[in-house]
């Protein structure tokens, strides 16, 4: 949340969601990030999306690595368990948690340094496993918390605050995720809550790894002229050809959907992801098309945003591992321990 004290008593009664909760239930403690930091806007979008989806706070598990971005899980849904782990290692921790308890809703917050340098190995393998989670990279092109070094997403030619240009080619998380077979790939901009909220909702409902690369300017170290991750630069270069709407299962689909929707994707829980606008002939279910689209845009120095790719049918970690529907954490000791008689039988092989 932005660094403004919350009023103790709401000025007007706040609206409530399907669970009877107000948006306050989805907020967390006060942000300690710099005023104007893109990460705070992303937090606000998460609060809004989770509130509107009426997610039960106790079912949410929010995890992160280390960095300014990774601090943000404290700033939303205070009624959810949180885990601020170590630098770059959030994906394995979510992997284990999800393996053990598949009934929680997992959201992982990471930074560009966290995901694409120190934790790159984990990031790519979480994609391979199609771990069912929302994976947010709050991408500012720098290491915020260690004060402004270039990160692996810094574009060639993008200048540091002191004016030095980066010369090492960047890793684009979107292209990387697409090439690795990610089942949900989106990009957004922290300055565009209207776009980010529906993307987040679809990401939550997607069964599998939902990667959202959110460009999130660092006002302290990377928001100057010459930076390609500044508010100004992103606004100038955003390519917004993809528009999507998330329609919850409660909405009567046929009646409410515009005839103009180009592509509708039925999500796992019965909700619908409707694409209102798409580049000519673009199908967000066609991975190769997405890869070429993103590559062409990069060449033209454009930053395409929106849900670029979705595959609702991909097998997730649990499908691949064949785990039971019952979360493993709910299995009783008696179901797990074969007991003394079986031990005697088993040892026959060792005689």
């Amino acid at each position: 949340m932005p660094s403004i004290r919350k009023p103790i008593i709401p000025l007007a009664p706040l609206p409530r969601n399907d669970l009877g909760l107000t948006i306050r239930a989805y907020e967390g403690s006060m942000s300690t990030l710099c005023a104007g930091c893109g990460h705070d806007s992303i937090t606000a979008a998460i609060v809004r999306a989770f509130y509107e989806l009426s997610l039960p706070p106790e079912r949410i598990a929010k995890l992160s690595g280390i960095g300014c971005s990774s601090k943000t899980p404290t700033y939303f849904v205070s009624g959810a368990h949180g885990f601020n782990s170590v630098h770059g290692r959030m994906p394995p921790i979510v992997t284990g948690a999800n393996a053990a308890n598949r009934s929680s809703i997992y959201i992982g917050i990471s930074g560009d340094g966290d995901s694409l340098s120190i934790g790159a190995g984990h990031f790519v393998h979480a994609i391979r496993r199609n771990l069912n989670m929302v994976y947010l990279i709050e991408n500012n092109g720098v290491y915020g918390l260690t004060k402004g070094q270039f990160s692996a997403t810094a574009d060639i030619g993008s200048a540091s605050k002191k004016g030095k240009a980066n010369e090492t080619p960047p890793i684009d998380p979107v292209s990387l995720a697409l090439s690795l077979g990610a089942s949900f790939v989106a990009r957004s901009f922290s300055g565009d809550k209207a776009q980010l909220v529906p993307i987040l909702k679809a990401a939550v409902e997607h069964k599998g790894f939902s990667m959202i690369d959110v460009i999130s300017p660092c006002v302290q170290f990377n928001n100057h002229p010459g930076s390609t991750k500044s508010y100004h630069y992103v606004r100038e270069h955003e390519l917004r050809e993809i528009e999507q709407e998330y329609l919850p299962p409660s909405i009567e689909i046929t009646a409410n959907m515009s005839v103009d929707d180009l592509v509708k994707v039925r999500m796992h829980d019965g909700s619908v992801l409707a694409f209102r606008s798409l580049p000519n002939g673009y199908d967000p279910r066609d991975r190769e098309a997405a890869i070429s689209y993103v590559a062409a845009a990069r060449k033209a120095n454009e930053i395409p945003t929106g849900i670029l790719y979705i595959d609702e049918d991909a097998a997730d970690l649990h499908d691949l591992a064949g785990t039971t529907e019952t979360p493993l954490v709910d299995l009783e000791f008696d179901q797990l321990c074969p007991g003394s008689a079986e031990l005697i039988r088993f040892q026959e092989a060792f005689r």
């Binding site: 009624g79 368990h81 949180g82 885990f83 601020n84 992997t95 284990g96 948690a97």
Partner: protein, 616 residues
């Protein structure tokens, strides 16, 4: 440090019934393991105490590999120092293999080729068997012949040492129950070797077997299998691992066990029956990920573990610290091998002690368990889960390659069906409801443990797990007092754990001023050494450490002796250092005998080391 010269034990005392050692020199990847295992298992079934040590290279095919079998009626089955019978099947190592024979020992070799002159010894008995030539006609296919030539020497050995042929035959039936073709070719190869030996040599040799009853109530098995079984019985549902010798078979066995005991029938939406798994075995991208997965699973409320060896422990260090400081249970199995770095991956050492005791940066201390054999791999692995849950901390089980990968004869396992796991202080919804407010790191119990909650259950129990500075309420802090209160409690918690660690094994004689302190796989060699010293009229007391933090009984043992000799398998006397550091005792009270060349320790080495110390 002592300089150790091993004295020769002199003449062979013939006949040596149920008391001899054999060494099989093979080429890696030629299938010799099945021949050697057949002999080992047959001896075991004859009721004679036996051990098998596989001294293998870090290689898939082509390099020399040895298998050693020691038969000892008295149950002394540590590695032998010299051999009565050498089966020299590897031309590359003939010369050195012949040197491992005792005076008057027997050398079995393939006489299809000539033995190089430098590989002959006047003081040993050659037993030349033209194994290759004998196998040429019956097994025309070259690959098959290589494999069956090994079975043929097993046949010859079984005649020479008088292996019970009925047992051998039953074992063949069991091994090849599903492959009659292989059964008959193996049977033929065995017979070829057996008959040749019978016709051409005086069988049995003076060193031979007689049926005994030394293995009643015993099983023969490797440690990694029983480590996996311990995790299964303890109710672990998540295992995460990255392949590494010699730990790989822990996770692979756990998966096999789960597939056998943890699958359930499930009817899917289309009414089709499927099997589903009450477990998840995750092959991670590296060891940091493996331990991260364990932490995630454990945080979510499952029992979870990882298995690795030294290099993996090094990689896990950062996350071990996270588990320690944020108080998340984790069980880590370290099957130790020879370090540092890649070291000798297929050789043994006990050299991860210090790195495990204090793994990770900052002030950290962990709970360690030291199994001495496969039986204890089972009991202590199961215990590790209770300790981890109870104390909300990582527990490292320090097995090693010798225990983990070799077959040992150990007492059979028993399980108490009344046992229930100790999940530690996890608040139920009801307990949570009764609290005014949940504060993660406050209200410690007598063991300095605070209560935790699991995600996914209750909003009131929500808290933030973090590896950054936190106070006793779980909040972020950079305040000295608030920070110290938590880390001080962690130190107290570690100390408190000593009352739940397995007690040391202690054997006291008649007031000897000397004691031996050891751990893990040294036990067999040390006990044999003690017996030998006693035979010479020199009594010495014995203590085997089984866990860290150390109990008072260990300190007392040291204080009650003039001098204790710490026997361990590393260069730097790590157990001795840990004892000195943690118990604050006078360093002159502890001396060292150290074996660290990579092969399992033998009793002669211990005896010589002790004699040397006592001389000085």
């Amino acid at each position: 440090m002592t300089v150790l010269n091993r004295q020769s034990k002199g003449e062979l005392k013939n006949p040596k019934v149920n008391n001899f050692a054999m060494r099989f020199a093979n080429v890696n990847g030629t299938g010799s393991a099945s021949a050697n295992n057949l002999i080992l298992k047959a001896i075991f079934r004859m009721g004679v105490p036996v051990s098998g040590k596989n001294l293998f290279p870090s290689n898939i095919q082509g390099l020399p590999t040895w298998y050693e079998i020691r038969v000892n009626e008295n149950g002394h089955t540590a590695r032998a120092a010299e051999f009565d019978l050498v089966i020299a099947m590897n031309g590359q190592t003939y010369v050195e293999d012949v040197q491992t024979l005792k005076e008057g020992g027997y050398l079995l070799f393939d006489s299809s080729w000539q033995l190089p002159p430098e590989a002959t010894r006047q003081d040993v008995m050659p037993i030349g068997i033209p194994l290759s030539a004998l196998c040429t006609n019956p097994f025309p296919e070259p690959r098959e012949r290589v494999l069956l030539r090994n079975i043929a020497y097993a046949g010859a050995v079984s005649a020479l040492i008088d292996l019970d042929q009925d047992i051998v035959s039953t074992l063949l039936d069991e091994t090849f129950s599903r492959n009659p073709k292989l059964r008959s070719s193996n049977r033929l190869a065995l017979q070829i070797g057996y008959e040749y030996a019978k016709e051409n040599f005086d069988c049995p040799l003076p060193i031979h077997l007689e049926t005994s009853n030394g293995n009643a109530g015993k099983i023969m098995v490797d440690g990694n299998t029983l480590t996996a079984l311990g995790a299964l019985y303890a109710g672990a549902t998540v295992a995460a691992w990255y392949p590494i010798t010699p730990a790989t078979s822990v996770a692979e066995n756990f998966l096999k066990l789960c597939e056998r005991y943890r699958t359930v029938e499930f009817t899917d939406a289309d009414g089709e029956n499927e099997t589903r798994n009450n477990f998840a075995v995750l092959q991670a991208e590296d060891e940091m990920a493996a331990l991260g997965m364990v932490l995630g699973a454990s945080w979510a409320g499952a029992r979870a573990f990882t298995s690795t060896s030294g290099p993996g422990i090094s990689l896990m260090n950062e996350i071990i610290g996270l588990a320690y400081y944020s108080e998340i249970p984790a069980v880590i199995i370290d099957v130790q091998r020879t370090g540092p770095s890649t070291g000798m991956p297929t050789r043994v050492q006990q050299a991860d002690l210090l790195t495990c005791a204090y793994a990770s940066h900052g002030d950290t201390k962990h709970l360690l368990l030291f199994p001495a054999d496969p039986h204890e791999c089972f009991t202590l692995t199961a215990k590790a889960f209770d300790l981890a849950d109870h104390f909300q901390t990582p527990v490292i089980v320090l097995s090693d390659l010798d225990i983990g990968m070799n077959d040992w004869v150990v007492p059979e396992l028993v399980w108490d069906d009344n046992y229930r796991w100790d999940r530690g202080r996890i608040l139920s919804s009801k307990e949570l409801a009764e609290l005014p407010k949940f504060l993660r790191y406050s209200d410690p119990d007598a063991d300095f443990v605070t209560s935790r909650t699991l995600p996914g259950k209750d909003s009131k129990g929500a808290f933030f797990t973090r590896g950054s500075g936190h106070d006793s309420q779980g909040g972020y802090t950079e305040q000295p007092e608030a920070y110290q209160a938590v880390v001080d409690r962690l130190a107290q918690k570690h100390q408190a754990a000593s009352h739940m660690m397995p007690e040391p094994v202690i054997r006291l004689g008649e007031g000897s001023p000397f004691g031996i302190i050891t751990l893990g796989s040294c036990e067999a060699a040390v006990l044999e050494a003690i017996e030998e010293l006693e035979g010479d009229g020199f009594g010495i007391d014995y203590l085997r450490v089984r866990g860290f933090p150390f109990q008072k009984s260990i300190e007392d043992f040291i204080q009650n002796h003039e001098c204790c000799i710490v026997v361990e398998q590393n260069r730097d006397a790590q157990l001795r250092s840990l004892l000195l550091l943690e118990l604050g005792i006078d360093p002159t009270l502890l001396k060292s005998v150290l074996s660290y060349g990579g092969f399992p320790i033998n009793s002669d080495f211990v005896v010589d080391g002790i004699r040397e110390i006592l001389k000085g």
